[in-house]
């Protein structure tokens, strides 16, 4: 058990390093929601998901849906580290002609299960995948990562009703609950609490965990496997920009690349062994 924790924590650190290097190089992208989800992504890609990078279209594979598409840097890092494409390609993020679009494009890059970028749609897509798996008699499980701000979209709640109504126990939702969206704290902009009670009353098995404790994430994914007859939602309490102290819990780093001294400091904090030269561009 101790070794698994160490292994996954190391993988999460690797994802954070890639995230900062990619966004730093591009001088564009969303560090906040990528870093807050790094531990969840490490558990999914290096422990939980039943996938095979050599057969990205294998019909029995588990599916991962990144509903909050702006956090794709951490997804790209997980896919590259899993062997879906070369790690070197990560530094082509957001460049013209590259495969690493600003928001994920399933027609460009292997391993992306669905193109995304418009918030609120991933859960419904996951429900559709879950229905297909059931119709085809496959054991695949469908994981979907959403933002807490994203839960303000009405479609999330339409999909919530649908998932429970159709007893989609092969769907596992994860909410990256960092209490930040673009314009500020979620609790200041548009409160989503009481969140656990909402999902429960909509018919979902609901858990609350520490989204930076890799073993808590592992245990939650294991625990929901035995839930039958209804879908599961894991509310993961996180810190936006987790891992880079001066960026943590600040709305301004939602979609801003660190530059200059900041970038150097961020890379030092994550002990990025290889430093990068950023491409100088105008900000957002």
């Amino acid at each position: 058990m101790k070794d698994l924790r160490k292994h996954l924590e190391e993988r999460a650190l690797t994802l954070r390093r890639h995230t900062i290097r990619m966004i730093g190089k591009a001088q564009s992208g969303h560090p906040g929601g990528s870093l807050s989800a790094a531990d969840i992504m490490a558990v999914l890609y290096f422990h939980k998901l039943n996938i095979d990078p050599k057969k990205p279209d294998w019909p029995d594979r588990d599916r991962f849906v990144l509903s909050k598409g702006h956090a794709c840097p951490v997804l790209y890092a997980a896919l590259a580290e899993s062997g879906f494409f070369p790690v070197d390609e990560l530094l082509t993020l957001r460049t013209l002609g590259g495969r690493l679009e600003g928001h994920p494009d399933m027609r460009k890059l292997p391993g992306i299960e669905i193109s995304a970028g418009s918030l609120g749609q991933g859960l419904a897509v996951a429900n559709g995948m879950a229905l297909a798996a059931r119709l085809d008699g496959r054991k695949a499980r469908i994981y979907v990562l959403m933002g807490d701000g994203e839960c303000q979209e009405g479609e999330v709640w339409e999909a919530s009703m649908f998932g429970a109504h159709h007893k989609l126990d092969n769907v596992v939702g994860i909410i990256d609950y960092n209490n930040l969206q673009i314009d500020g704290f979620v609790s200041d902009i548009l409160e989503i609490q009481p969140l656990k009670e909402k999902w429960e009353s909509f018919g979902w098995h609901t858990m609350e965990i520490d989204g930076h404790d890799v073993m808590a994430i592992v245990e939650a994914f294991d625990a929901v496997e035995s839930i039958k007859g209804r879908p599961s939602m894991i509310i993961a309490k996180t810190t936006k920009c987790k891992g880079v102290s001066f960026m943590e819990n600040k709305a301004e780093y939602h979609g801003k690349a660190p530059s200059g001294d900041e970038l150097e400091k961020a890379m030092e904090e994550l002990s990025c062994i290889e430093m990068i030269e950023p491409d100088n561009k105008e900000g957002c």
């Binding site: 928001h103 979209e153 009405g154 673009i182 548009l190």
Partner: protein, 307 residues
């Protein structure tokens, strides 16, 4: 250099001081649209709806039907895309006084990529009865269009861009809703442009002049209702029309011009724009170039059209 979206904050604050009926709504993009500044100035007249554009649009409808003049802000993919039915069946159908200051339009959104690069919005909105569409060429025209929109009854869509671009006009510019602006008279060819392509069309006309081609350049900033009289007069004079827009060639400015001319004065039209495909990530200068949205490509296309 200034972006058209930068006109939102100062203009709305200025208007808000005189007109207490002006209110603003945003959907978690208030810093990008500039409406957060309006919110600081008038905290009780600003509503950040969170990531919930559909709710924002219908709430604006409720405010409008109760005598307020709501300005609704977000990125164009979301104001038009996510909130389409609210815009169609609530706002436009009832001809409600909702003003949409829609930023991050076209492929010049850049790095965020195709999911965030609307290229179909003008086409969709043109087909919507009661809707008016303004695509300002620069910061000054955006400012004047925002001011004018309050005087125009019913829904108005103002298509604004993300990047800082060179200007076409100056501080003294007076915008006339529904009136095209002939920026340069010419006799060989009419270049009809809109949005950030207007500056590039002027630059292209300079280059063409050096090669002995005398192009007329028209800023068609109001796309609906279209200034048909100015268009027809120009087409009659030159006999050859080139449209230039940062939008799909399907249904946008090129579509509007072609439809009008084919009924009223059949004239050969060549359309420059995004050729029925989605956008792509990259720095906006590179993306514009990739889609041929440059003065050089306007020159090349104009010469081919005149062969």
């Amino acid at each position: 250099m200034k972006a058209t979206r930068q006109a939102v904050a100062p203009t709305l604050i200025e208007m808000g001081k005189e007109n207490p009926n002006i209110v603003a709504l945003d959907a978690d993009l208030a810093e990008s649209t500039g409406l957060n500044k309006f919110g600081k100035e008038f905290p009780d007249r600003f509503f950040d709806c969170g990531v919930a554009e559909q709710n924002m649009m219908s709430t604006a409808a409720g405010l409008a039907v109760s005598g307020k003049t709501p300005f609704v802000g977000s990125f164009t993919v979301f104001t038009i895309g996510r909130a389409w039915d609210q815009l169609r069946n609530v706002v436009a159908y009832a001809d409600l006084n909702v003003k949409i200051c829609s930023t991050h339009s076209g492929v010049s959104v850049g790095e965020d990529g195709s999911s965030h690069q609307p290229i179909e919005d003008i086409a969709m909105l043109r087909a919507l009865p009661n809707m008016k569409i303004i695509v300002p060429a620069d910061f000054y025209e955006a400012r004047e269009a925002l001011k004018a929109s309050v005087e125009i009854p019913g829904p108005v869509f103002i298509r604004l861009g993300r990047p800082k671009m060179p200007q076409v006009y100056d501080d003294d510019y007076s915008f006339k809703f529904g009136k095209a602006d002939v920026l340069k008279a010419g006799k060989d060819l009419s270049i009809i442009a809109t949005g950030l392509m207007v500056r590039m069309a002027l630059d292209a006309a300079d280059m063409l002049q050096q090669d002995g081609i005398d192009a007329e350049v028209i800023n068609m900033s109001t796309i609906k209702p279209l200034d048909e009289a100015t268009l027809i007069e120009s087409a009659r004079k030159t006999g050859r029309v080139l449209t230039v827009e940062e939008h799909s060639i399907v249904g946008g400015l090129g579509g509007a011009v072609s439809e009008t001319l084919s009924e009223k004065l059949p004239t050969p039209v060549t359309r420059i724009g995004v050729k029925d495909r989605f956008g792509t990530s990259g720095p906006y200068q590179e993306v514009l170039k990739y889609f041929g949205l440059t003065p050089e490509n306007i020159v090349k296309t104009a010469k081919e059209a005149l062969l």
